[in-house]
């Protein structure tokens, strides 16, 4: 198993443990542990199997299982994302293997990028979200648990499947897709009417930065991607979990803690998102400095959406308040000293 994927599986397991301990509804804890545990195991299997084809079949099985555990969305909608991802990734791997003109390699890069986007649930394949749907059957499971491991595996396999030129095209497409997701996600989180959709768009915006980091072939880009994924799995996901009751009840809070949460969600210092953004900007300046300007402008768009999401947490007390404090503390620690995260991923 590649170290990055191992680290992401551990982070997903930690996020699951947090969800079980700090989940607002007692009835959903057993469901979280059982079905969420199966999801983490599935993600681990995607990383552990020896070949890319087996990883795709595990992804397929996981997609089917996720679609049949129930939920408010129709079976077809739940099943389409992962299955389209498998089909596109399969075609991508197929085009990478066959002998032929250089265009085949480019097709392979397109298939891998499009498949990754469909699997994670980012543009151009956003999974619909329903605020009343249980967390385990919602598309957030793909955005924050399976998606990070899948992305690490696809990017690592793409490096071995694609030749140099196509690998460059693969990276460029990841950056382009990342920028689109940054713009669309941050604007959506700010402007959409539904709070649940705003949370989904905020995940998409974060994923935009992850894709940009993965597309930048320098070491700082990869480091930015792993820290950003940490920020998604152990920052945004737990905060989203804690906000679900308030989002359903449509209650908002203007307390000072909302501002701190908004700062964490926006990637302000000293939280982990800030370290990721710094690394990303440094990587962009190493490759092509105008990209850093575009990224910096995109990062400013996080502020309005994050202020809105910070307020959407509502009035949290007791166990949930402890949970928020813990999430903020962990993110501050990772933001101030991200080295252990990077060393664990061999970056």
């Amino acid at each position: 198993m590649q170290p990055e994927a191992v680290e992401l599986v551990v982070l997903a397991a930690a996020a699951l443990a947090f969800a079980v301990v700090f989940s607002p509804a007692a009835a959903s804890r057993r469901e979280l542990l059982g079905k969420g545990g199966a999801g983490v195991l599935g993600a681990a299997a995607i990383a552990a199997v020896p070949t890319f084809d087996l990883a795709l079949l595990v992804l397929l099985a996981l997609g089917v299982l996720h679609s049949v555990i129930g939920g408010k969305r129709s079976l077809a909608i739940r099943l389409r994302g992962p299955l389209v991802a498998v089909a596109l990734l399969g075609l991508g791997a197929f085009f990478a293997r066959v002998q032929g003109p250089d265009a085949m390699e480019r097709f392979a890069a397109v298939g891998l990028v499009a498949g990754l986007a469909a699997g994670v649930g980012v543009l151009p394949y956003l999974h619909p979200i329903d605020p009343d749907e249980p967390l385990v059957s919602s598309p957030v499971a793909w955005l924050a648990v399976v998606g990070p491991v899948l992305a690490a595996v696809v990017v690592q396999r793409a490096q071995s499947l694609l030749l140099v030129d196509a690998a460059g095209a693969f990276g460029a497409m990841l950056i382009g897709l990342g920028l689109i997701n940054v713009a669309w996600g941050s604007a959506g989180a700010w402007l959409t009417e539904s709070e649940a959709a705003a949370w989904r768009y905020s995940f998409v915006a974060d994923w935009g930065l992850v894709l940009c980091g993965m597309g930048l072939i320098v070491a700082d880009g990869q480091r930015a991607a792993i820290v950003m994924l940490f920020s998604i799995v152990l920052g945004r996901l737990p905060l989203y979990l804690l906000s679900r009751t308030a989002v359903r009840d449509k209650s908002v809070s203007g307390r000072p803690v909302s501002l701190v949460v908004a700062a964490a969600l926006a990637g302000s210092a000293p939280f982990a998102g800030f370290a990721a953004r710094l690394l990303l900007l440094r990587a962009a300046t190493q490759l092509f400095w105008p990209l850093a300007i575009v990224l910096a402008a995109g990062m400013l768009m996080w502020l309005p959406g994050s202020l809105r999401l910070g307020r959407s947490l509502g009035l949290l007390k007791g166990r949930q308040a402890v949970g928020i404090a813990l999430v903020l503390a962990v993110n501050v620690a990772a933001g101030l000293y991200p080295l252990p995260l990077l060393l664990a991923a061999h970056l």
């Binding site: 049949v68 939920g71 197929f94």
Partner: protein, 180 residues
């Protein structure tokens, strides 16, 4: 020649899955397509792989007969776009497999592309569980078959895994639960 016939049979079966809405039509399509892919798998990965695909296809077809809309319902009214899709995908796959790409294994390349493409299209176009799960099973088998296009001889593991998925998915009865 055998490979070419097997590739045609695999396309025909996948097309029936795309064109059918009834349980019998879907089962027949899955069985035919799996038979074609099993013949191709024999060449690239040996008898274990071929047997896995054949068995997976049989189990998938049998499971499909258990649930879904009764009857065949092949090419119901309004299915002309699906028919055009089947032919267009086949032509594009044939062009890529025979003219654009090089090396032996034209039939294998054609089958992998056409079955993945048609299964993906069926998933995007279908709303009912039987059609979705039939396409899922074919997609799993085609992903395993595509592994055979690699340079070293393909191992049987992807074929076994694909057969388990294809066989298992056809026996699933989805349920709707309320939010917790």
């Amino acid at each position: 020649m055998v490979d070419a016939v097997a590739a045609f049979v695999a396309w025909l079966g996948a097309s029936v899955v795309v064109l059918a809405d009834g349980r019998r039509g879907l089962a027949l399509g899955a069985a035919i397509s799996a038979a074609g892919m099993a013949v191709l798998a024999l060449d690239v990965a040996g008898p274990v792989a071929a047997g896995s695909i054949a068995l997976g296809g049989v189990v998938a077809a049998t499971g499909r007969l258990r649930s879904g809309r009764a009857g065949w319902h092949v090419m119901p009214a309004g299915s002309t776009p699906r028919l055009v899709l089947c032919i267009a995908v086949a032509l594009v796959a044939l062009w890529i497999a025979a003219a654009l790409t090089t090396g032996p294994g034209v039939s294998l390349r054609f089958t992998a592309m056409v079955v993945i493409g048609l299964s993906g299209a069926r998933v995007l176009g279908a709303d009912e569980a039987p059609a979705l799960f039939s396409a899922t099973g074919l997609l799993a088998l085609a992903i395993a078959l595509a592994a055979g296009t690699g340079q070293p001889p393909a191992a049987p593991w992807p074929f076994l895994a694909a057969a388990i998925i294809a066989g298992g998915v056809s026996w699933i009865t989805p349920r709707i639960v309320r939010a917790a």
